[in-house]
């Protein structure tokens, strides 16, 4: 290091001494910030692992929980999350190309690759919004509590609901009315509240109606919590599965079925699962969001020529460090939340 000090005049040195790592102050501090942020994320993921290991209920399995694609529907295990991972990796690559262009003082290159990075970031955020929405709304079948007290998730194709035929008037519908709107939502709401009794559904206005529904196909129950007759991991198919499922949701009892997820309950597994999902992916998503904002600010600086005048594009390198870090965190979230 001594050899270096010859070419640096004391006025420009950090408080009169040479930088310990021959790195600029900003970059060093960015690294220290990233270390602290990495500790936070590691803490969250380790807490997730801890909870997962000492929960007696069976924990949801990634490829069973996340198996949907927009438009195409179910049956595509993990493809969507893999796509999100790929988007983030690509945007990390475009970022490193922007940094590389900066090292050659190639302003046009920096602008081009930073715009690509920002677009990638928006794509990722959009994907995450879809995934959250899907997670919150849940599946068509929900998680059901069977007669013996066990809980099961349900796989298969849900037969479409065609209509409700009112058989007892309420404050809005008359007898003989045929309801054709908002069927799925009404059905799930009534099932959760225990407003379906022996196939007769009670609608919002207090009227009662019969349900016309197509037959479900390939119905399969997978037990996730022990009951008197069934234990975790047991799979039930066919007529028996159908009977068990519809006996439960048509029982007229509240909370026999749960659709989707919120902070108190979720259809996928233990209560904490939803909370960890929202917190970890949410905290990461917030990092992506702020990363996109910072990238936009730096892009504006690049376009105005601020860094070109300064003689180096180190600001792009620093925001790049943050952006790569966000990608790095996702690599771990992807493994520990979705794969294992």
């Amino acid at each position: 290091m001594a050899s270096h000090s010859a070419k640096l005049d004391t006025e420009t040195l950090w408080g009169g001494k040479e930088s310990p790592f021959q790195t600029s102050y900003g970059k060093l501090m960015m690294w220290f910030f990233l270390v602290s942020d990495a500790l936070t994320f590691s803490g969250l993921l380790i807490a997730y692992g801890f909870t997962r290991h000492d929960t007696l209920e069976s924990w949801p399995i990634g490829e069973e929980t996340f198996n949907s694609l927009p438009v195409l529907g179910h049956g595509y295990p993990l493809i969507y999350v893999a796509l999100m991972t790929f988007i983030l990796i690509v945007s990390s690559v475009t970022m490193v190309l922007a940094v590389e262009a900066g090292h050659r003082m190639d302003k046009k290159g920096v602008v081009k690759w930073m715009i690509a990075t920002i677009i990638g970031g928006f794509f990722f955020l959009g994907s995450q919004a879809w995934e959250w929405s899907h997670f919150i709304h849940g599946s068509e079948f929900g998680k059901v509590e069977l007669a013996d007290g066990s809980q099961a998730i349900v796989k298969g194709h849900f037969g479409e609901i065609e209509s409700f035929t009112v058989i007892e008037a309420g404050s809005h519908h008359k007898e003989g009315d045929i309801v054709k709107e908002d069927l799925m939502h009404t059905f799930q709401h009534a099932a959760e509240k225990g407003h379906i009794n022996n196939g007769i559904i009670e609608l919002h206005d207090g009227s009662k109606a019969t349900i016309k529904k197509q037959k479900d196909e390939h119905l399969k129950l997978i037990i996730k919590k022990d009951g008197k007759s069934y234990t975790v991991g047991k799979e039930i198919e066919g007529k028996k599965a159908e009977d068990l499922y519809y006996n439960a949701i048509f029982s007229g009892e509240e909370n026999r079925v749960i659709y989707g997820a919120n902070l108190n309950k979720n259809e996928y597994g233990p209560q904490q699962y939803g909370q960890f999902f929202f917190f970890i992916t949410g905290f990461h998503g917030f990092h992506v969001f702020s990363g996109v904002l910072i990238n936009i600010l730096i892009l504006i600086g690049v376009m105005r020529g601020v860094y070109h005048k300064r003689g180096h594009y180190e600001m792009v390198e620093k925001t790049g460090l943050y952006w790569h870090f966000v990608d790095l965190v996702w690599v771990f979230v992807f493994t520990f939340f979705y794969l294992i």
């Binding site: 640096l8 420009t12 040195l13 950090w14 930088s19 310990p20 790592f21 790195t23 600029s24 900003g26 970059k27 060093l28 690294w31 990233l34 270390v35 500790l39 590691s42 803490g43 380790i46 807490a47 692992g49 801890f50 290991h53 000492d54 007696l56 399995i61 490829e63 295990p77 993990l78 493809i79 893999a82 991972t85 790929f86 990796i89 990390s92 690559v93 970022m95 490193v96 190309l97 590389e100 262009a101 900066g102 090292h103 050659r104 003082m105 991991g233 300064r310 180096h312 460090l321 790569h324 870090f325 990608d327 790095l328 690599v331 771990f332 992807f334 493994t335 979705y338 794969l339 294992i340």
Partner: protein, 120 residues
């Protein structure tokens, strides 16, 4: 206010067009590798059930592949591999110390809590 960072340090990263070509080649190589690892992980996750006998091996290979991916991102994309040795150490060593300790203590605690629940 006078800027307190050294422009010499910030210029360290500069390179020529020819060097740039080599660096871009390396970036492309790492990109292909990261994508291939992700595809492999998804394939393993989708086709090997958690109930199967091979699962423990798959699980640990996920961890190994993830660490490999993380290594490439940190060393190549974040250029930590090109920094001074002690900058690298000052970032990695404190992190590793804290996290290894946290993993150790969390595993011990999880076993204790699990035993307490199972015993009850």
């Amino acid at each position: 206010m006078k800027r307190d960072d050294l422009i010499e340090y910030s210029l360290n990263g500069h390179h020529s067009d020819d060097e740039g070509k080599l660096i871009r080649k390396k970036i492309l190589k790492v990109t292909v590798l990261l994508t291939a690892i992700t595809v492999l992980e998804v394939a393993l996750g989708a086709y090997i059930k958690q109930s199967s006998g091979a699962w423990p091996y798959v699980k640990w290979s996920f961890v190994a592949l993830t660490l490999l991916k993380a290594g490439y991102i940190v060393m190549v994309f974040m250029h930590l591999g090109d920094e001074k040795k002690w900058l690298r150490n000052v970032v990695l060593i404190p992190y590793a110390l804290f996290i290894l300790y946290l993993i150790f203590i969390a595993l011990c605690e999880a076993l204790a809590v699990g035993d307490a629940w199972m015993g009850a």
